[in-house]
């Protein structure tokens, strides 16, 4: 079966994730959406690696998983710290970083 299907799938997942990032207010769900996006990328990589018979793609998928783990740990840490200081996890209330 042509690789296009995989690409379309990952595109769809990516877009869904992007929508989640943009529209949700709950930071945790935003983080999850980011995980979803990373996952979509992984699908791409693995598909290509399969179709080129080159394992490098899977290696990078592994790295992406590692990065995702790091991102989750740090992100959740930030959220907990934020919650402790500002009592909120709403994305649009985290707006200190502006002019």
């Amino acid at each position: 079966m042509p690789i296009g299907h995989y690409l379309f799938l990952s595109l769809a997942l990516f877009l869904i994730g992007a929508i989640g990032v943009i529209t949700r207010r709950n930071v945790l769900i935003v983080l999850m959406s980011i995980e979803l996006i990373l996952n979509a990328v992984n699908i791409n990589l693995v598909a290509f690696s399969r179709y080129f018979g080159d394992v490098a793609g899977q290696v990078f998928a592994l790295f992406i998983i590692a990065a995702a783990a790091a991102e989750a740990a740090v992100g959740l840490g930030i959220i907990i710290a934020f919650l402790r200081n500002r009592e909120t996890v709403l994305a649009d209330e985290m707006d200190l970083l502006k002019w």
């Binding site: 929508i19 207010r25 018979g53 290696v59 998928a61 996890v89």
Partner: protein, 174 residues
Amino acid sequence: MLDSVIFYFFAGIAIVSAVLMITRRNAIHSAIFLITTLLATAGIFLQLRAEFLFISQIILFVGGIMVLFIFVIILVRLDVPLPQVRWRTQKWIALLVTLAVGMEAGVVLWFARKIPGQGLIFPNPAPADKLHPNTEELARSLFGSYLLPFEIASVLLLVAMVGAVVMAKKRIDA
């Protein structure tokens, strides 16, 4: 044929539960649907004969990251549905833009498929029984040509761990 059946099966699960994931109000539900998405993705990896990635997807993403998420959600009582009002405008903009991106990418891929002659020009995947054992392959290139990135990734994880501890640790003085 069987491959494609499996693929469509998993892809359907993935997309549906992804949509559900971003539409649930309750964070825990979103987490569960994300988990199903990830599992479905893992299935697709398996269908792509990337066994090791499949297992590490399950161990790390599902068994590690998502458990962490749920843990945090329960710990800080985020399992109550949060108000989802305000800034509709941005939401509409967002949807619009996203759809635009999707359209464009879709068009690109589609026309790439529709080149006169044949479809996407790719070497067809090697038959499954001809493949080398995936884990060994991965290990070889991971510790061979990608050793430095591997080390860097490990350092990244270490740093992330320390950072998470530092940030989430309860200040004794405060």
